[in-house]
Subunit: 219 residues, 2 copies
DNA sequence: ACATTATTTTAGGCATAACTAAAACAAACT
DNA sequence: AGTTTGTTTTAGTTATGCCTAAAATAATGT
């Protein structure tokens, strides 16, 4: 039986695999906020169940089955987030937390109804891609706004969905995925990033700017 | 912490209290499909936590706190059922099962948004009353269609939400809560109940008729 | 190569919520 | 009152999934 806890392990491992080819026990423990020793026990079980391959002292890697399960959970999570924003009017800084619960309970039938009602969307409210029913995901190559050169235009691609404070701040400023902006200038010591969005000018600090991922516009 | 399991205990006890003043261990075990010995252990814990009063060999009764928690869960369950039928187009025979999961995960904020979107409804799709936020419930006095006299008109009040087969059958016939019907005649041995609904005539068996709860129309 | 440091695993425990089998109790009948 | 029957509790286990402390292994620096 795939419990909610197992789903969370698989999801966390999937996300960490974008950074590590093989995910270390400690990184996983940190991500799940549990003790490393507890992780060792669980990954042994998950390896036995065929969700991942485990090499002691070397970390874990998802098998195709593990990947499939992880993507399913992530898909439901992101569909739920968008559904709550668009259909239930929940503020975008709160949907991540709610979706952490929905992702484990939505039936396949509901998953598909919601997807259809939303018009088969490609991205969640924070700009992350929604995996297809077949488990395909298309990541957009993006980088922090802090690495953009002054005078260049870009589109906001993605923001960290786990940071409600940041989301509230950016939401109020209208800096949401899909919006086109131009980085007008960078103040000395990277202390301030001056942005032009349409007619309005916005100043944000380095901290916030580093958390806004953008893509350059190519014609 | 009120776990999902505790919520299910409280919900079950609440429902059983409509039949028993004090709920016997065995009845609760049967309702939850677990062994009576397991129930004994849990109700001791729930008594310690103040959710119910427990007299060994005499059964349990919910305290006001227990009642409050139970009604909260039932409220979310019924709101979720109606939401799924009206907003997500889920067939009414499937929403009970889904709501068994939703009832444990919807936040208060979502509960209220859903209630508002539905226009502060009074009944779930199966005709059960939706408790108010303050925990008030108004049950409608109803009785099985089999006890109605021939020639009398009535309104369908409630049907068993846990019986998908019955629900599909009644749904196809259009026999849903709120509909006005007239019991035209009862065939010998109660073998068949002939109903008039608007212009159409419908025959149903005793088994099904006994599960349709009605109220007589008073002017 | 060896010592230090960091990571990971092993070993032993704990809480929750279920189980079975046997004992205790209550109700009902003679 | 005593016996039978049915209900409920006690006692002892089990599986999950977490914990801490200590041991083992790997990585790093000299």
């Amino acid at each position: 039986m795939v419990t909610e806890i197992i789903e969370n392990y698989l999801k966390a491992i999937y996300e960490l695999q974008r950074k590590y080819q093989s995910v270390p026990t400690n990184a996983l423990a940190e991500s799940l906020s549990i003790a490393p020793a507890s992780v060792t026990g669980m990954i042994k079980k998950l390896a036995e169940n065929g969700f991942l391959t485990y090499t002691p002292y070397r970390g874990v890697e998802l098998t195709p089955e593990g990947m499939e399960k992880a993507l399913k959970v992530i898909r439901v999570h992101r569909l739920a987030e968008l559904y709550m924003v668009k259909m239930l009017g929940v503020p975008w800084d709160k949907v991540h937390e709610e979706a952490e619960k929905w992702e484990h309970v939505l039936s396949e039938e509901l998953e598909e109804r919601i997807e259809a009602l939303l018009g088969y969307p490609k991205w969640c409210p924070h700009g992350s891609p929604i995996p297809s029913r077949e488990g395909k995901v298309e990541y957009v190559k993006s980088f922090p706004l802090t690495e953009l050169a002054a005078g260049i235009s870009a589109v906001i691609a993605e923001v960290d969905d786990r940071n409600p404070e940041l989301l509230r701040y950016l939401g109020e400023l209208g800096l949401i995925p899909g919006e086109e902006i131009e980085l007008v200038e960078i103040a000395p010591f990277d202390s301030l990033f001056r942005i032009k969005q349409g007619e309005s000018q916005i100043d944000i600090g380095k901290e916030a700017a580093s958390k806004i991922l953008v893509t350059v516009i190519v014609e």
